[in-house]
C-alpha cells in the first residue's frame, strides 16, 4: 500500500503523523507476546485441564481486539482521548465500587467483575484513563488559576488508590503512586509537597506491611530467602541461571510446567530459561525504547496536558515492566504484576493496548492548522522544558 502526502484521507493522515518507530516497537512487542504465549502457556493450560492452546488462542484474540482498539484510539485527537479517558475512568470507578460492594473474592482479593459473560478487571482499564485525567488536572493547575485543578488531581488519586487498597491490590497501588508522584514532580509542583506525598506513601506501605500478613510473608521471603523451598519465586530466579545467556532452546524449558503463574507473572522467567538472558536483555531494551520514546516525545510536546499524559503513560508501562522483571530476577519481593503485552490476562492486555493507543494518539505530529494550539503562557513563550 502506498500513501500519498496529498491524500487527506484519515488513513493517510494517520500514517504520516503517527510515531512509526513507536508503532513498530509496539507491534514487535505484540508479536513477542504471542510467541512467548506459545512457549509458556500450553503446559499451564494442561495443568488446569484446558486444551493445550487455550491461552494462546485467548491471547491472540485479545491482542487482535486490543490492536484494533489501539489503532482506533491512535487516530483520535488529544481532546477526544481525554473525553474517552473521562468516560472510561468513570465507568471503571463505578465498576470498582460495585466490586467493593458485591464483588466475588478470588484468591483473597476482589478485583474482577463479569459483564456479558466476560470477566473484567476495571482497575486495570482505569490505569491509562487515570493517567490522562491526572495529566490534564496537573496541566490545568499550571495553566489556569481559576479552576481548583490540584485538588482534582489529588481527588482522582485518592479515589483510585483507595479503591485499589480495599481490593486489596498493593502492587497496583504502589505502581499508581509512583507514576502519579513522578507526574507530580514533572508538573513543577513544590518539592516539599512531593516529599510529603512520598513520605505519606511510605507510611502507607509500612501500614500495609504491618496489617496484611501476606505482605509480611512476601517481604520476609524476600529478605530471608530459604534455599530449596521450591517457591515460585525461587524457581523463577533459578531459571535465569539455568537458561544462561543462550537459553535451553524453545520448548526445552521446565519451569513452565511447575509454575502456576508461568504464563502471567513469571513469564519473564520462562523466556529466560528457553531463550536465554540475551533475549531477556533484548526484550528489556525494547521496553526501554518504548518508555524513553514516550518520554522524549513528551518533552518535545508543547501542550502541557499531552506532555504530562505521555510521561505518565510511559512511566506506567515502564513501572509495570520494571516491577514485573524485578520480581522475576529476584530484586523485588513477590508482587502480582503482569509484563505488559507479554503476560496472559484479558483486562491487562486490553489496558496495555489502550495505553499504547493513547500514547500513539498523543504522539502524532499535529500538522493541520486546527490542531495548533496557542502557547500556554502568553509572556515568555519559550519552550519551558
Amino acid at each position: 500500500m502506498r500513501f500519498d502526502r496529498e491524500d487527506t484521507s484519515l488513513l493517510a493522515d494517520w500514517w504520516f503523523t503517527v510515531d512509526r518507530l513507536l508503532l513498530t516497537a509496539v507491534f514487535i512487542l505484540m508479536g513477542v507476546g504471542i510467541i512467548v504465549s506459545l512457549a509458556a502457556s500450553p503446559s499451564v493450560a494442561l495443568n488446569k485441564d484446558l486444551s493445550a492452546f487455550y491461552f494462546v488462542k485467548r491471547h491472540i484474540i485479545i491482542v487482535c481486539f486490543g490492536a484494533t482498539l489501539m489503532l482506533a484510539l491512535s487516530v483520535q485527537s488529544p481532546r477526544t482521548i481525554r473525553r474517552i479517558a473521562l468516560v472510561l475512568f468513570a465507568g471503571c470507578i463505578g465498576g470498582m465500587v460495585y466490586i467493593f460492594a458485591a464483588g466475588e473474592e478470588i484468591n483473597g482479593a476482589r478485583r474482577w467483575m463479569r459483564i456479558a459473560g466476560v470477566s473484567l478487571q476495571p482497575s486495570e482499564l482505569a490505569k491509562p484513563a487515570f493517567i490522562v485525567l491526572s495529566a490534564w488536572a496537573f496541566a490545568e493547575h499550571e495553566r489556569r488559576r481559576d479552576v481548583p485543578a490540584l485538588p482534582v488531581a489529588f481527588g482522582l488519586y485518592l479515589i483510585f488508590v483507595g479503591l485499589l487498597l480495599v481490593q486489596p491490590d498493593i502492587g497496583q497501588s504502589l505502581l499508581i503512586t509512583l507514576v502519579w508522584g513522578a507526574m507530580f514532580i514533572l508538573a513543577g509542583l513544590p518539592v516539599a509537597l512531593a516529599a510529603a506525598f512520598f513520605a505519606a506513601a511510605l507510611v502507607g506501605l509500612g501500614l500495609a506491611y504491618l496489617m496484611l500478613p501476606y505482605i509480611q510473608d512476601r517481604v520476609h521471603a524476600f529478605l530471608y530467602p530459604v534455599r530449596g523451598d521450591h517457591s515460585q519465586i525461587e524457581r523463577a530466579y533459578n531459571s535465569f541461571k539455568e537458561g544462561g545467556f543462550f537459553g535451553r532452546g524453545p520448548g526445552e524449558g521446565t519451569i513452565k510446567t511447575v509454575l502456576p503463574d508461568a504464563h502471567t507473572d513469571f513469564i519473564f522467567a520462562v523466556i529466560a530459561e528457553e531463550y536465554g538472558i540475551i533475549a531477556c536483555l533484548a526484550l528489556l531494551g525494547l521496553f526501554m525504547f518504548i518508555v524513553f520514546r514516550a518520554l522524549i516525545q513528551a518533552i518535545s510536546s508543547d501542550d502541557l496536558s499531552m506532555r504530562y499524559a505521555l510521561c505518565g503513560l510511559g512511566l506506567l508501562i515502564g513501572g509495570q515492566t520494571l516491577i514485573n522483571m524485578g520480581v522475576n530476577v529476584g530484586l523485588l519481593p513477590a508482587k502480582g504484576m503482569t509484563l505488559p503485552m507479554i503476560s496472559a490476562g484479558g483486562s491487562s492486555l486490553i489496558a496495555i493496548c489502550i495505553t499504547f493507543g493513547m500514547m500513539l494518539g498523543l504522539t502524532r505530529r499535529r500538522s493541520s492548522i486546527g490542531e495548533i494550539r496557542l502557547p500556554d503562557v502568553s509572556v515568555g513563550a519559550v519552550n519551558r522544558w
Partner: protein, 565 residues
C-alpha cells in the same frame, strides 16, 4: 522553589520599563528552565536506573550459569541423586567410587504410545517391568517417570538411536565397587539415589556428607580413608574362605585390630556381601557375623575371667584350684571337665587345659557383682558404636545368678558380637587400656586412653596366651607362626539354635595377639558350624580356628609391618 506563572504575571502587572521587564522575564525563565530540566533529569534518571538495574541483574544471573547450573528443576523432587566421596583403604586403594551413568526416564505426555515405546525399549533392555511401567506411562498427565536408572553408555546409545519421543536421559552418579565383594560388610550399601544406607556408606552421609546433584554430575573429589588395609583384608578373606571350605563350615568371621589405636586393619564375615547388591545382603545367610550377630564365644572368655580374678587379687597365676569335683548349683546345674588332667590345676593350667570348672570356681570367688562390673568396664555388656555402624545388642542372661556367673566364666550364657570381644581382648593385652574399634582413619592424635585394668594383669594375660601356644599341650599350639611370637586362646561353644543348644553344632573361635612381647595386633577368628574329620569327628577350635588364625597371621603380619624375630 518553583517559579510559578502567577509570579511572572504579577511582575508583568507592575508598570516597568520595557527593557528591564524583558530582562527579568528572561532571568526568571532561565531559572525555571534549569529547575524543570533538573526535574526531568530526576524522573528520566530513575527510569534509567530501573532498567539498568534489571539489566545488570540479568547479566549477573547469566554469569552464574557456569558456576552452579542447576538444571532440570522439574524433576528435582523426583530424582534426587547424590554424589559421594570415594572410599579408599589406608594405602589409598579405591574401595568405592562414583561412576557417571545414564538414567532413563520418560515424559509420558510426549510419548507416541506407551506400549509401542515400551516394546521398542524392551528389545534393548529386556529387564524392564513392562506391566507396571505401561500403566505409569499411559498416564498422559504425568510428566516424569523413571524407566531404568544407571544404564551403560552402550545401551544408552542404542536407546538414543531408537529415536523415541519423550524418552530422555539424565546423567547420574552411580556407586561402583571396584574390589567387588572385598570388605563388603565394612563398606555397606547405598540406595538408588546414591544415599548411604549401611555401614561406612551410611557413615559417609553423616560425616563427610554427600552432595545433591543438580545438573550434570561434577564428580566428588573428596576421599574417605579407612583404617582397613586392602592387602590384609584380602588375605583374611581368602584364609577364612579356605577354612570354611576345609572345615565345611557355614560361615566365618575374622577381625584384625590394632591394639593401641583400635584401627581395624581387616574385618570380614563370610559369606561376603556385594556392596552393589543391598537386596542380597538382607538375607540372613549374609549377616555380618562380626558386628551384627551375637554368639556365645566359649572358652576365649576364660582370658577375661582370669584377668578379672587377677584384678580383684583373689588369685595369682600360681593359685591352685581343685577341678576334679563338679560344680553343682541347685538341683539342675552341674558342670564337670571332660578333658584335661584329673588333678588340681594352677590358674595357668586352667587356662591352657581350658578347665570350665576352674574358670567357674574363680568366678564364684570373685562374685556376681564384680564380674558384671568388670565385663561392663570392658564394654562387653553394652552395645558398641563404631563408625561402620553399631554392633548387635549383647544378649545378657535373664537373671544373673550363680549358675550364670559360672557359665559366663567360660563363655556361655552371654552372647555378644565378636568385634566387641576383639576390642575387650585388645585391652587385655595392650597394657590395660580400653580400645574403641575404628574403621575410618582419623586425624592424628588419639583421645586420652582409659585404663580398664592394671598393666600387671595385662602382662600376666600375655604370658598365659603365649604359653598356650608354645606349650606342647596348649590348645593354641596349632596357631604358632615361626618368628612371630603368637599367643592365643581357643573357644569351642555349642551353637544355640531354636532356644536350646544343638549338640552337633559348634561355634569355634580363636583369639590371638602378636607379637606377644609387645602386642601390636589382635586377631579374632570365628568359624560357624565347622565339621570334624575322621571317625572321632573332633570339631575343637584348637583343630580349626587356631590353625586358621596361624595362617592369617603368617600372611598378614609382614603386610602390617611386623617383622619376624
Amino acid at each position: 522553589m518553583t517559579v510559578s506563572p502567577r509570579k511572572t504575571a504579577d511582575s508583568t502587572a507592575r508598570p516597568q520599563p520595557a527593557d528591564a521587564r524583558t530582562a527579568r522575564v528572561a532571568a526568571v525563565d532561565r531559572a525555571g528552565l534549569r529547575e524543570r530540566a533538573l526535574r526531568v533529569a530526576l524522573v528520566f534518571g530513575a527510569v534509567g536506573f530501573g532498567f539498568t538495574g534489571v539489566g545488570a541483574q540479568l547479566i549477573h544471573l547469566g554469569l552464574q550459569e557456569q558456576a552452579t547450573a542447576p538444571r532440570a528443576s522439574i524433576s528435582r523432587p523426583l530424582s534426587e541423586t547424590y554424589s559421594r566421596p570415594d572410599i579408599v583403604d589406608r594405602n589409598g586403594h579405591i574401595l568405592a567410587t562414583d561412576v557417571v551413568m545414564q538414567s532413563l526416564y520418560a515424559d509420558p505426555s510426549k510419548l507416541l504410545g506407551a506400549s509401542e515405546t515400551l516394546e521398542a525399549l524392551g528389545r534393548v533392555i529386556p529387564g524392564i517391568n513392562t506391566a507396571a511401567l505401561a500403566r505409569v506411562l499411559s498416564n498422559r498427565k504425568r510428566r516424569f517417570a523413571w524407566i531404568k536408572r544407571g544404564i551403560s553408555p552402550a545401551t544408552a546409545q542404542q536407546i538414543h538411536e531408537l529415536g523415541l519421543p519423550g524418552i530422555e536421559f539424565k546423567p547420574e552418579p552411580k556407586r561402583s565397587y571396584p574390589q567387588g565383594r572385598v570388605a563388603g560388610h565394612v563398606i555397606g550399601h547405598v540406595n538408588i539415589d546414591n544415599k548411604g544406607t549401611a555401614a561406612i556408606e551410611r557413615y559417609v552421609d553423616a560425616s563427610v556428607g554427600v552432595r545433591q546433584v543438580v545438573g550434570d554430575p561434577q564428580g566428588d573429589k573428596r576421599q574417605l580413608k579407612l583404617t582397613v588395609d586392602l592387602r590384609a583384608q584380602v588375605a583374611l578373606e581368602s584364609e577364612l574362605a579356605s577354612a570354611m571350605d576345609r572345615f565345611q563350615s557355614v560361615a566365618a568371621s575374622g577381625v584384625i585390630l590394632d591394639v593401641e589405636s583400635g584401627a581395624v586393619r581387616a574385618a570380614a564375615s563370610l559369606p561376603s556381601v556385594d556392596p552393589a547388591n543391598p537386596i542380597e545382603a538382607q538375607h540372613l545367610r549374609y549377616l555380618d557375623r562380626l558386628k551384627r550377630g551375637t554368639y556365645e564365644l566359649g572358652s576365649i572368655f576364660k582370658a577375661v575371667t582370669i584377668a578379672m580374678a587377677l584384678e580383684k587379687r583373689t588369685v595369682t597365676t600360681k593359685t591352685v584350684f581343685d577341678v576334679r569335683n563338679p560344680i553343682e548349683i541347685g538341683q539342675r546345674f552341674r558342670i564337670v571337665d571332660e578333658h584335661g588332667p584329673r588333678r588340681p590345676l594352677t590358674v595357668e593350667e586352667i587356662f591352657i587345659y581350658s578347665s570350665n570348672v576352674g574358670a567357674g570356681m574363680m568366678a564364684l570367688e570373685v562374685g556376681e557383682r564384680y564380674q558384671r562390673k568388670f565385663l561392663r568396664k570392658l564394654g562387653l555388656l553394652d552395645r558398641m558404636q563404631t563408625d561402620a555402624g553399631q554392633t548387635a545388642e549383647p544378649q545378657l542372661p535373664p537373671s544373673w545368678g550363680k549358675a550364670e556367673v559360672v557359665t559366663i566364666a567360660y563363655g556361655h550364657g552371654l552372647a555378644i558380637a565378636p568385634l566387641q570381644f576383639a576390642a575387650a581382648g585388645a585391652a587385655l593385652v595392650n597394657g590395660g587400656f580400653a580400645v574403641q574399634p575404628v574403621f575410618v582413619e582419623k586425624s592424628a592424635g588419639s583421645s586420652a586412653r582409659k585404663r580398664v585394668l592394671s598393666a600387671k594383669t595385662s602382662v600376666a594375660i600375655r604370658r598365659l596366651m603365649r604359653r598356650n601356644v608354645t606349650s606342647p599341650k596348649g590348645s593354641g599350639r596349632r596357631a604358632a607362626v615361626p618368628g612371630y611370637d603368637v599367643g592365643g586362646k581357643t573357644g569351642t561353644a555349642d551353637r544355640a539354635a531354636a532356644g536350646r543348644y544343638d549338640g552337633n553344632s559348634v561355634v569355634t573361635s580363636f583369639f590371638a595377639a602378636f607379637p606377644m612381647v609387645k602386642p601390636r595386633y589382635v586377631v579374632l577368628v570365628t568359624l560357624h558350624d565347622p565339621k570334624g574329620s575322621g571317625a572321632r569327628n573332633q570339631r575343637f577350635a584348637s583343630l580349626n580356628a587356631a590353625p586358621t588364625t596361624g595362617r592369617i597371621i603368617e600372611r598378614v603380619a609382614p603386610l602390617l609391618g611386623v617383622l619376624p624375630k
